[in-house]
Chain length 436, copies 2
């Protein structure tokens, strides 16, 4: 059989990794796929760099549209990123009847519904294993490996940069800004780190996982996102003392009245395996009704790990390229006419447990007033730490863990607590999940 | 489309779980597979029990051959276990042109080569996700998710019973026999626990993983197997002191002159995620050249988790049932004419690090003689613990961790050490893996 010919758009970090893996393991891949897979054309704005990498083994283009429209290309690999030109190129590739492999989580989270509909209509595949969890085959696990299950929830460390920062803060006692600078120095964080540290990248990925788990369309606009930039050593220390670690988790859960879709710092019991996923590594917990809890762990980013997922997709697409579209795994795990319209819950409706830290004046009756307000809002306390005030110190920290409560009730109670004259400043509130 | 009709052989623990999951999640599964999947016939020797479970919703048989030969059955689900009648039934199902889904690791490890050849010839699929790691989709991850990689090694906790026993021994300080009795009381271990505690079950599973990882035939007879029944609290304690945990690992590695295939108790750094897989849970580390280390975690046994894998296979087979066999993933990950004849290394040729514990008379020069013997055999010491002898005590324990060395050299050195008049009894030797 003739080799499958791919056109690569973008030969940056992941693109050059893909080029490298596909060449280095060409024999292994052919023995698996039953057919050779070659990158026949490469498009990149930096022709000089591309020429050096490709070394005459593929046709080079400065104009990506030429690759997307080239009649000899079977699969377009989109590694440009972003939602601008990448979107137009992917839609054109589909229109040209070409299959697409992409690592672009932002594109799929925001425009996936349109892209998959176009692909469905044209009978082509859009594969995106590399969009979540780097080299971890989490898309395949969710879409195929756990197909027997009614998925109950997913909780994942799906942004390596923020996990690295949190690991540094805990291990070395660094403040957030210093840990971020270290991440930037190592090349884990961009000059503008907003996407990673504010949870936006994680929310893109979580949107994709949520759609696959629950058979719903992509709804990135409804995701709740809160980052790690306000976390302090005080909170990390108190959490530790209570037997917890703080992780930036993406959580999506099938609740009674809708689906939760939220990214935020979360206290997790220190004994849980996921609490021990350190540095830039990713770990994704998936709870199914039959299988129980499963976890998938590995490098969530980087040239070679992400290329591993891109090339796995190339093998999958190659295998099914001449097959009837009915034989393919549906893009969103469920048949396109079988998606559900279960709504995404606003964050106020979410039920979770909470870590609360407040600074109060060391006077009699303060605690009684606070606990009365919580009780009035039906928020019950699971654990509490109150420190002896230091010599001459008039303010003390009170830290509480609550049982599960509805977020809007917690917000209302905290607003009342903050109005107490004996409470100093704002209450710090971090969500807590037992992950059972 | 008409529903896919499966015939279930054996409605015991996993069989009843499969029946249950397929019925409970029928709608979810149909929305995914695009087609309903039904168990139309059930065979079990215990007709009374089967009748109660099936409640008139499938045709019951006492004779499994009737199900295997029934013209209305598309897929045979073999959950009888063992290598006797199960083998004959699977081969007959294939001869009848039926696809097979099985959880039978012993059957595949011992007779997989013959079974897959027969299936290949007949153009049918034999799916076996449930044979390793219960509900963890590890077969799919290895065969498809990591298809871009040259796999370097796999190290797995793939027997929940022995992992439960080791967790109990460490957590509660129980001796082996008491922890085993507890496992039996809870139904995790059989009355005759040999298969689980002596590593045979793990070796069956490892044989399957090794074949998939390296594109070699199943070679169970060449697997090295050593169980946990001789482990003592002394070793667990010393390991802990040195920063390690003892786990029963199945390890398969691509070495210079062949492939390692071995199951044995192993010291693992306590900080590694896999060292923290506790109780009956399974965890499988896979190292690929592109992706790096990935881990897959979940329930390795039990009715519903194993059923999760069986039903995932049913969905996969259903999807490809009318497809050209060329569109299917090859049974052993590599195309059948592309298997490799790389030999399995005898255990003497394996290179690993070691934990050594010996009891010696507390006299001058003893340690010098021991370290001289090790140096002569080119075994270098990485760490050592020697305890002060107790009041009036004439014997002391010496514990050493070595760097990597060839096993036959270690055996020769240990034989010399055991002949020293100052060394009391045998040297305890447990292998150690850094898993990097």
């Amino acid at each position: 059989m003739r080799p499958i010919r791919a056109g690569l758009l973008g030969i940056g970090t992941v693109g050059s990794g893909t080029w490298d893996v596909l060449n280095r393991n060409a024999d292994e891949i052919r023995r698996r796929a039953g057919r050779a897979i070659r990158i026949a054309r490469v498009a990149d704005k930096d022709l000089k760099k591309a020429r050096k990498l490709v070394d005459g083994m593929a046709i080079l283009h400065r104009n990506a549209w030429e690759v997307v429209r080239a009649p000899d290309i079977d699969i377009v690999i989109e590694l440009i990123g972003g939602t601008g030109i990448a979107k137009a190129l992917v839609l054109e590739a589909i229109a040209q009847g070409k299959h697409v492999v992409t690592a672009n989580k932002a594109l799929l989270a925001k425009h996936g519904n349109r892209i998959f509909a176009a692909a469905q209509k044209k009978g082509v595949m859009v594969a995106f294993e590399a969009s979540v969890g780097g080299g971890i085959p989490i898309i395949k696990a969710l879409r195929e490996g756990l197909a027997a299950n009614r998925i109950e929830w997913i909780a994942g460390i799906i942004n390596g940069t923020s996990n690295f920062i949190l690991s540094e803060m805990r291990d070395k006692g660094l403040p957030f800004a210093t840990a971020l600078a270290e991440a930037q120095r190592r090349g884990y964080a961009e000059t503008d780190p907003t996407f990673d540290i504010e949870g936006i990248d994680a929310a893109h990925k979580l949107t994709i996982l949520s759609a696959l788990a629950f058979g719903i369309p992509m709804q990135f606009a409804k995701a709740y996102t809160e980052g790690i930039s306000k976390l302090t050593q005080a909170d990390i220390g108190y959490a530790e003392e209570l037997g917890y670690r703080i992780k930036l988790l993406g959580i999506t859960r099938r609740a009674k009245h809708g689906i939760e879709l939220r990214v935020h710092p979360t206290l997790v019991p220190a004994r849980r395996l996921i609490a021990n996923v350190e540095g830039v590594m990713n770990g994704i917990l998936v709870k199914g009704d039959a299988v129980g809890a499963t976890m998938y762990y590995g490098a969530g980013a980087g040239s070679q790990p992400t290329a591993s997922a891109v090339v796995a997709d190339l093998v999958d697409v190659t295998r099914l390229i001449t097959a009837d579209p009915g034989h393919r795994v549906p893009h969103l795990a469920f048949q396109p006419d079988q998606l559900s319209d279960t709504p995404i819950l606003p964050i106020g409706e979410v039920e979770t447990a909470y870590y609360l830290r407040m600074r109060v004046l060391d006077r009699p009756g303060v605690l009684a007033r606070i606990t009365r307000i919580l009780a009035d809002s039906r928020i019950s306390i699971d654990a509490m730490v109150q420190k002896e005030p230091g010599e001459g110190e008039k303010r003390v920290d009170i830290v509480m863990l609550t049982h599960r409560a509805i977020e809007k009730n917690v917000n209302a109670a905290l607003a009342r607590i903050e109005r107490l004259p004996t409470v100093v400043g704002k209450v710090t509130r971090i969500r807590l999940e037992a992950l059972l």
